[in-house]
Amino acid sequence: MSDKKEVLICGEVKGEKITTITKELMTTGRKLCIDLNQPLSLLLIGQNIQEAANEAILLGADKVYTAEGASWVESFPEHYVSIIADICNQTGPSIILFSQTDMGRDIAPRLAARLGAGVCLDCIELAIDPDTKSLLQTKPVYGGNAMAVWASTNNKPQVITMRPRTAAQAEPDTSRKGEIVPVALDVNNSMIKGKLLETLQEDVKGIRLEEAKVIITGGGGIGGKEGFQLIKELAQILGGAVGISRVPCDEGWMPAGHEIGQTGHMVSPDLYIAVGISGAPQHLAGCSGSKCIIAINKDPEAHIFKEADFGIVGYYREVLPVLIEKCRNLLA
């Protein structure tokens, strides 16, 4: 156990680079480190992670632990739990940060149970209570209808996942110095009983929702597969991506991979056009960070108008063709 506690980020790497979501985590982690007067460490597990480790130092990590060998796309998740628990037992972090990603939401709860730690998933804000030094954790609850603020009550480490896009990405500073510490993996593989057989990353056609500047989302009001032609056409003209709410997903009007919301993608484009969407909190959870929200709904009382910047009360079949035509002209 080291003499000084640290804030540990469990980072993610894609194509040998630190992911944008992990960069957000570094901003959150740095803020906590300042308040706690503790160093910031980052753990990278994977193959070919040296370049990412160097990048992490420029992004603000005082120390980067590199565990070469395992990889998320080849391992059973419990393998990761064991590796991270092992490192935590050696380094004794005060806070362990993940993003609320496929990996974070899977690993964090089991890791916390193994470490006897506290845990809170899907936080949108973290702060240190100046008096008690306990970690204050803000998280949406009841599908986004309410917010809860929790305080840690023990001196055990706190395991946290942060919702993406709740902090700005850390910016690199080439003058930063830090230490890279390779860690040996001596996880007892015989203890891990599951096996990953197959991973499929569906190639999302067109723009990834998370990166899209414009998203046009169709909901239950679209009424069927065929109505999505108009949504797609508007998306094409505005250079945007197509999203859906839960209803088209359940009804099979569009592939589930387009779903926006609590259980789907969390997006924050510059422009979000919600067509035939009622504005349930579980849906808004995925898009309320958008810069400008436009609602097109036949019902003037629809809750979506409470969240939108601009709205049209009307039937989408009357609105969209005109909107498409006008946008086409304006952008020609």
Binding site: P77, D106, V119, Y142, W150, K156, E202
Partner: protein, 266 residues
């Protein structure tokens, strides 16, 4: 295949946002009047997934719930869908439990039920949206875990579990017994049949108390919690929506495009 499904009763998560009320003082959600609580939708989907496995491979489905009012309604709902047995866990000593205590109680109950190949939980309970209990049970019982399951099958004596990811899926092979948490991609749960409702209403539902379980008293109830709720509030939205009007919908649509262009949004 014998399956245990953990189910939780929650306030209806699909009430209109205007009906959602809470008492900031006591940091509690006020149950909406006239709208009865429901089985957590993901748990209903977990029951559905269990029934699909039972349809294919036979076996027995046991549902467990911790409910301090000893309310049997959601257990009966699962029985009416086709589950075989239901047990309600209720005791004053369970009150104020957090995710760890809840998982401890459920883990002890699961062990008491005994023979099982698979434990299913929902991916999260749609009240507090924690998403913790299934994973903690797996750790407590040292069992393999697959989260966000969409489908389960049996291949060569092992479970083949499909996990939903943001941009696709993963497929895992795990030996039994195992734990899985269930996601909404499972699809529509079946409706209880008339006969199901009748036979469920006749079924005895045992109530297990703390003393019926081999639970560690220091790990349950309010004194065991690892975090404290300091504030519960409804976020205020400061947005004012500008409704674009026109003589006709078409005119409003044209105006909207022009507004967006002027505002530099498109």
């Amino acid at each position: 295949m014998d399956i245990i499904v953990c189910v939780k009763k929650i306030p209806d998560p699909e009430i209109p946002p205007a009906k959602f009320k809470l008492d900031m003082e006591s940091k509690r959600v006020i149950p909406p009047e006239g709208i009865p609580p429901v089985i957590n939708p993901y748990d209903e989907q977990a029951v559905e997934l269990a029934l699909r496995l039972k349809d294919k491979y036979g076996g027995k489905i046991t549902v467990l719930t911790i409910d301090n009012d000893a309310d049997t309604s959601i257990v009966k709902h699962a029985l009416a869908m086709g589950a075989d047995e239901g047990i309600v866990l209720a005791d004053k000593a369970f009150e104020g439990s957090d995710s760890f205590s809840t998982s401890h109680i459920l883990s002890q109950a699961i062990q008491k039920v005994g023979n099982f190949d698979l434990v299913l939980c929902g991916r999260q309970a749609a009240d507090w949206d924690e998403g913790l209990v299934g994973a903690i049970i797996a750790e407590n019982l040292s069992l393999p875990l697959v989260t966000l399951a969409e489908a389960v099958d049996v291949v060569d004596g092992k479970l083949k579990v499909k996990r939903v990811t943001l941009d696709g899926y993963q497929i895992f092979a795990v030996p039994t017994p195992a734990v899985a948490t269930v996601s909404n991609e499972v699809g529509q749960p079946r409706l209880p049949s008339g006969w199901g409702i009748i036979s469920a209403s006749r079924k005895q539902i045992p109530i297990w108390k703390a003393g019926d379980l081999d639970a560690d008293p220091s790990q349950i109830g309010a004194k065991a919690v690892r975090r404290r709720l300091v504030k519960l509030f409804i976020p205020v939205r400061e947005k004012k929506c500008e409704i674009i009007e026109g003589e006709t919908t078409a005119e409003a649509s044209v105006k909207l495009a022009e507004r967006l262009r002027k505002a530099g949004v498109i």
